[in-house]
């Protein structure tokens, strides 16, 4: 049976992240359709690092690093040693429903991280639009020119954050709630605030495995169709998926064997994270933010395999 190629006339923008200008995007075909086009940069795999001791994190993740995670700097070093190509700092401390810290501790920590690591630094707020606007805009101004990746930036807070991010050369994660039309709209609004498209990553919002992953998948698919087949410039941007936090907050990933023997081994969350990650990569994700370092290794192997056609032919198709 012959397959009809999926004709594409569009191409996603190549964006350069961090101070070392790490490229993402530039695809002119659907994900891994190497027989139809090119995907010049491999997907980037990032690991979470929290700014506070990860008390809410499951033990299976904490133990994976084999060390105490009370120092974000040590944690970041361990994440890099585990193969992370970017660090995704989670500003848990600023959550108004938690410690409600001001911007100062985050300012200090981001500065130290920037000095210590040479991979892109994603700085993720607490999903409270107002608080994130305050803290992320302070960071944007303080670290002018240091090429942070700031998120989540939503319609609700983009007017406060976007002009500063644009002025100081940072990249924005444009977050919308699993909706193609709203994703396009937010990118237009960001452009209106002076953000160049090549400084925007699309965050379609990730549903966890069993918690709406399929909605995210189909929205991502439609975003790629718009970019590649309808040549929609506003959407021809790399996609970032914040997968780790969705996987590791689910009961199915956290339950221990002794509480729920029918669920199998305690590390099943890793397999959930890998299988969900594979789905998102197939849907076109350019950046995955993961929790467990073992998931990162599994997904790295998968990506390496698909990026080396000869090997893939041997291992997958024979």
């Amino acid at each position: 049976m012959a397959f009809k190629p999926l004709a594409c006339n569009g191409k996603t923008a190549v964006e350069y992240l961090g101070e070392k200008s790490c490229p993402v995007g530039g695809d002119n075909c659907f994900s891994f359709h190497f027989f139809e086009g090119a995907r010049p940069s491999q997907p980037l795999l990032a690991l979470e690092v929290w700014d506070i001791y990860p008390r809410e994190w499951p033990d299976v993740c904490c133990q994976a690093y084999g060390r105490n995670l009370s120092s974000p700097l040590d944690w970041a070093a361990a994440a890099l040693a585990a193969g992370a190509q970017a660090i995704a700092l989670q500003l848990k401390s600023i959550d108004p429903n938690g410690l409600d810290a001001g911007p100062e501790p985050a300012l200090g920590l981001v500065g130290e991280l920037l000095d210590k690591i040479d991979v892109p630094l994603i700085v993720w707020g607490c999903d409270n639009a107002e608080k994130d606007a305050l803290v992320l805009s302070t960071l944007a101004a303080r670290y002018a020119g240091r090429k942070l990746i700031l998120g989540p930036v939503e319609e609700a807070n983009h007017k406060r954050l976007a002009p500063l991010a644009a002025e100081y050369g940072h990249t924005i994660c444009a977050t919308t709630p699993i909706d193609v039309n709203l994703a396009k709209q937010l990118n237009i609004l960001l452009q209106n605030q002076g953000v160049p498209l090549e400084k925007i990553l699309i965050d379609p919002t990730t549903g966890g495995l069993g918690y709406g992953l399929e909605y995210t998948y189909s929205v991502m698919e439609r975003l790629r169709i718009a970019a590649l087949q309808q040549n929609d410039q506003v959407l021809a941007l790399p996609l970032i998926c914040h997968l780790g936090k969705e996987i590791w907050k689910s009961k199915e990933a956290r339950q221990l064997r002794e509480e729920a023997p029918e669920m199998g081994e305690d590390n099943r969350g890793v397999f959930m994270e890998i299988s969900a990650g594979v789905s998102l990569l197939l849907a076109g994700a350019n950046i995955l933010v993961l929790g467990h370092p073992q998931s990162l290794r599994g997904l790295r192997d998968f990506i390496d395999l698909l990026f080396s056609p000869a090997q893939a032919e041997n291992e997958l198709w024979l």
Binding site: V180, N181, L182, K184, Q185, I188, L189, R222, A226, Q230, D232, V234, L235
Partner: protein, 291 residues
């Protein structure tokens, strides 16, 4: 294309008050305006009408038909209220609507014959909204067959393929057009109708979207539409008085017009709307400004 005025609606605050107070003035005034604007039916929309539904519908039908000599489209999901309206109605009423769900059509089809009414066959199936033109076709066949079995002729049936909001279900709008092309073969002699305004619900571009899609539906052979009688341009398009707009829409549909810039400035809005309705461009609230 025939027009059914949508505005006599329980959702309209001022009218709702008149409904509750049984005050004929505002109701009759709007009915006369709709007649002057050229509506062929007036839709009387009570929604679920849980409280005093039958008595309210009876009063509304009598009150409106005292003022205007037009048939009414009776729009309520309350079957008792529907029956009360049919009993009070002079001439042939239009039942809006009967869904393609057995428990609904088994209860409602007898009203069509008992009161010698016409009916809207709403292609809302057992699982809700149809997902493409084929599901629409399957449900149309089921519902029309059941109606025919009851002795209802095809010409009394107005098939409503369900127009969904552009900002939620963009791909359903071309699906409705494809279904319209199938309908004459599936059910020869049936008429068709669509609730147009739903298309633009929640968007800041209501009028141009409604106007453009109406031109497409007209071309696709839709017999009538439920619409906003206050939109003069829309009524003119339905009446075939704006061939210039229809030409632009046809050109986009046929692929001979790909850039809105190729037409005069006052017509560009229709080219843009046509592109987004047909899915050539992904909808966003700001898309009008982009192309």
């Amino acid at each position: 294309m025939k027009c059914i005025g949508e505005n006599l609606n329980v959702m309209q605050k001022s009218l709702n008050q008149a409904f509750q107070e049984r005050n004929p003035g505002p109701v009759q005034e709007m009915a006369r305006q709709q007649q002057r604007a050229g509506m062929a039916w007036i839709d009387v929309n009570l929604g679920p009408a849980r409280k005093n539904g039958p008595e309210l519908m009876d009063w509304l039908v009598r009150t409106i038909q005292e003022a205007v000599d037009l048939p009414l489209s009776l729009d309520t999901s309350n079957i008792e209220a529907m029956e009360a309206g049919l009993a009070a109605h002079k001439g042939r009423a239009l039942i809006n609507s009967i869904m393609a769900r057995p428990e609904r059509y088994n209860a409602m089809l007898p009203l069509v014959t008992r009161y010698d009414a016409d009916m809207i066959a709403l292609l809302w199936g057992p699982e809700g909204l149809p997902r493409d033109e084929n599901e629409r076709a399957a449900w149309a066949v089921e519902l029309i067959y059941a109606a025919n079995e009851m002795g209802i002729d095809n010409q009394r049936i107005y098939v409503d393929p369900i127009i969904t909001p552009l900002n939620i279900q963009q791909d359903q709008l071309p699906a409705v057009l494809r279904f319209m092309a199938m309908l004459p073969e599936i059910a020869p002699g049936t008429r068709s109708v669509g609730g147009l305004s739903n298309l633009s619900n929640g968007t800041p571009w209501r009028e141009p979207l409604n106007q453009t899609y109406l031109a497409m539906l007209k071309r696709a052979g839709m017999y009538s539409a439920i619409l906003d009688y206050k939109d003069r341009l829309l009524i003119d398009i339905a009446a075939g008085k704006r061939p210039d707009i229809e030409q632009v829409v046809v050109a986009v549909e046929d692929g001979s017009l790909t850039s809105p810039q190729e037409v005069e400035e006052n017509l560009r809005v229709f080219a843009r709307a046509a592109r987004v309705i047909l899915g050539h461009s992904l909808y966003s609230d700001s898309w009008m400004k982009l192309e």
